[in-house]
Amino acid sequence: MYVYLADRGRVFSMRDRGRRLLADLRDEIEHDDELVLDFEGVISLSHSFADEFVGELAEQAARGKLPHPEVINAAAPIQKAINRSFRARGIADTGEHALPA
């Protein structure tokens, strides 16, 4: 499944928005073996949104419930927010902007 975030906006701030987006997409994601999150065109992602959407996706993937999200075309601040969420949840960093150990 391919999710182009910019189709839904270019600024994502609210934690609850991340929660609702995950709920909206969950049924489709569950029935697919792959998941790509394309952040091209996204200007900003708060850490709260990143944690509630991407972080939660990754944690559920780690438990085998969903496919692991592959993050592409994320600007450095966005990748950093995602990696910070992964780190807090005990998931390995991804992308070229991985946080230092």
């Binding site: 906006g9 270019r10 600024v11 994502f12 701030s13 609210m14 934690r15 609850d16 928005r17 200007i43 900003s44 708060s46 850490h47 709260s48 949104f49 944690d51 509630e52 972080g55 939660e56 601040p77 927010a81 910070r84 969420s85 807090a88 949840r89």
Partner: protein, 293 residues
């Protein structure tokens, strides 16, 4: 409502200045059956934080059933600012605040008009507004302010809406640009406030200023969440965005309960961390962020 007592409050010329905290706009119930008269006639300058506090003052007291009469500012520039920042839109019925007609509305310096958030869906609408703001204002030298601006508004608004939407007034946001290279934003709510919120988990934090300082540290409020899902990191991320950005300076000021906390950022470093305690207690949490290139 029969008014048995009129309580007068007055703003000074400097009340709305950035160095002030809007202390004269008291969010505390007046005696029963009294009404409030807020005299803004001497107000000489208004910044986003005072703007938010002013509107919250009107909404909060009106929600408690108190009539509020506002004497408008005499200064035409202050009148114009209040008008273009939409202070008097959709005022509650118990509030009487008439601004004189202002013909000149130069809006080039307005980043975000006074925006009130009462629901999570309105939080999504804030994202749409922020997107427009970035498209219209952040180019050239100002581009360096994009990420810290969005992070500040986004994280702080998320906090404010989470804590403030159950309150009488919700959350408020406004942002203003000065001389193209300096911007000031304010975010506030009349919810539970940081110190009382933290004391649910950390009862030893009896000093409100130090409690706010603790909230800016990684992992403090996250610890209270059984799911350990990364909550309570808003101030940490804001600080990081400011230190990461290629901007010349910035500052953050937070007022909640009786506590105040402020710090500065210069060339990627945090300075002048200063917790303090004031005699004037406020409802909720009020944050002012300044960024400069």
């Amino acid at each position: 409502m029969a008014a048995s007592e009129q309580i007068a409050l007055s703003a000074t010329q400097r009340s709305g200045h950035g160095t002030r905290w809007g202390e004269d706009l008291i969010l505390r119930p007046p005696p029963p059956e009294s009404r409030l008269r807020l005299d803004l006639s001497k107000l000489g300058f208004v910044e986003p934080l005072y703007l938010l506090r002013l509107r919250a003052f009107l909404d909060w007291h009106s929600a408690k059933g108190t009539e509020v009469l506002v004497v408008p500012p005499r200064s035409t520039s202050v009148q114009a600012y209040l008008a273009r920042m939409k202070i008097a839109e959709a005022l509650p019925e118990l509030c009487n605040f008439e601004l004189p007609e202002v013909t000149a509305h130069d809006r080039s310096d307005v980043l975000l008009e006074l925006t009130r958030l009462k629901s999570l869906i309105e939080g999504d609408q804030l994202d749409d507004l922020l997107q427009e703001v970035v498209g219209a204002h952040f180019e050239g030298d100002s581009a360096a302010l994009t990420q810290p601006f969005l992070m500040a508004v986004g994280e702080m608004a998320d906090n404010a809406l989470s804590h403030g939407r159950g309150a009488d007034t919700g959350a408020y946001v406004a942002a203003q640009r000065y001389e193209k290279k300096r911007l000031v934003m304010a975010i506030g709510d009349t919810g539970v406030g940081i110190p009382d919120h933290l004391r649910e988990q950390f009862p030893h934090l009896t000093n409100d200023g130090e409690a706010i300082e603790e909230a800016t540290k990684e992992g403090v409020t996250a610890a209270r969440n059984e799911n350990r899902n990364h909550r309570g990191m808003g101030y940490v991320h804001l600080t990081e965005a400011m230190t990461d950005a290629k901007m010349s300076s910035g500052s953050v000021r937070i007022w909640s309960g009786c506590g105040r906390y402020q710090f500065s950022v210069r060339n990627g470093q945090v300075f002048d961390r200063e917790p303090s305690v004031t005699n004037e207690r406020t409802a909720g949490t009020w944050v002012r962020v300044e960024l400069s290139v």
